[in-house]
Symmetry: C2
Subunit: 313 residues, 2 copies
Amino acid sequence: MPVRPVVALAGGVGAARFLEGLVQAIPASDLTVIVNTGDDRDFFGLRVCPDLDIVTYTLAGRVRRDTGWGLEGDTFQALDALRGLRDDAWFQLGDRDLATHIHRSARLAEGAGLAEVTAEIAERFGVGVELLPMTEDPAPTVVVRNDGRRTHFEEYLVRDGSPDDVASVDLSQAERAEPAPGVIEAIRGARTLLLCPSNPVVSIGPIRAVRGVEAELQRRGDAVAVSPIVGGRPVKGPADRLLRAQGTEVSARGVAGLYAGIASGLVIDQADAGQAGEIESLGLRVSVLDTLMTNPAIARSVAEAALALAETS
Amino acid sequence: MPVRPVVALAGGVGAARFLEGLVQAIPASDLTVIVNTGDDRDFFGLRVCPDLDIVTYTLAGRVRRDTGWGLEGDTFQALDALRGLRDDAWFQLGDRDLATHIHRSARLAEGAGLAEVTAEIAERFGVGVELLPMTEDPAPTVVVRNDGRRTHFEEYLVRDGSPDDVASVDLSQAERAEPAPGVIEAIRGARTLLLCPSNPVVSIGPIRAVRGVEAELQRRGDAVAVSPIVGGRPVKGPADRLLRAQGTEVSARGVAGLYAGIASGLVIDQADAGQAGEIESLGLRVSVLDTLMTNPAIARSVAEAALALAETS
């Protein structure tokens, strides 16, 4: 399989909205997306891959719009019945969404790799973008809480409601994971490398942590990122709590600091235009525009800005 | 756990309707039901136990009445989505029903035995009857077709629509299976032993085939059965095709012949009253009444007839 010209590293909802814009700007067949699997977890024996599914459903035009995850119009009969049978059914899994997890788990149990199964599911959903899990190995992101408890990222995010009690984020399992087939080749061979507006700590962070990925990103040093922080706040999710926990300022400038070694460009929001000079002093070219992707047209303009920045970086 | 005074051997829909009558006649806490697991099969990695679920749902008052299986008012969103992902989603699995299979599969994967999981599910459904799977070992019933193909019973019944091309029924896997914990003790210790109006070949047959069960049934020799054949036809299902395949007449008399070694009584329908004398000549006492359990009151009268016959046998 030839390497595709554009490669993007992605987490969940923010990434998916950006990618929806990107495939308006370039053909889907030109794009490979390497997706975080640090959020993956087995629920009642079913393998759930939140970020892979969010990206798949969004690119298929079938994601639930109000939440950014799950399938539009899905029902929750099975989950409701599961709650009558067990006490750990806290993760939101719709009935049609459940079919994805059942099918994936069955294929994995048959011996298929996660990369193969991901490609099959994407194809069944009519997604022309190539989706690669960052790894096929278990690589759960662990959130260490102030009281010392070690919780899976989804336990922190969903079960516990992402409170502000994060002591640190442990990516050591990602560090021991091998990249999935095609990941290193995709990064190495891409003409343009993008970092989606995802959580730098728990979405892009785990991908960087996978063996060999960071070295490849640093060797290139020319990624273009879109800041997920706008006006000092994450657009969605607990990035503020996670950035603070590792001592990073919750700002576009803070994001630039995290990406300085691997990126040559950063797309930031107009609200953060005042930080452009400081970001440029870190060695990144900057593009400033409205980045709140409240509709596909804005998402397209953000994607085009990132592509343009990549051309000039 | 003390052995309960009444023990019944059961298949699916016919048995469940009879048991619904039986628990009107005796306390649920007096009854143990040993259920056929020859129909059990994994679908997409989920363990489905059709007869256990039919009996559980029926005794919980939650079975879908028009079919006799599945849950009343269930939806089929997950199955519909699975059909978009795979080509083998031919078994009818409702969304709430699916929760049972997901939970059971997860508990089995955790190392719980099928007997334990069955008891847990029954309790969650508020069923006071003790339900025992005949075995915890895999014991699929294989239907050998006229063209030599060996098909799982549910493939024959549901996928292929139970055609009249049965060469033989292979219970060899049940013959190698150990009885589930409590099965032999329940049969040995029961005051009253009943054979529900289930398919003698593929519902009661597999239970009899499990190691040690037939010897125990023959040692007692006092079971009371309810004929599943009325007026020369099965009330439901393909019993006619399966009986003919093994050279048994499709009649109450034919059923009596199969049960002669283990039963001392047979409840038959008024339509078959003319066969009473012949059945008695096989050594079985006979009770004749309307056995078409079209409502719970008739089911209760059939159950009471069986209990009365057991008292006098």
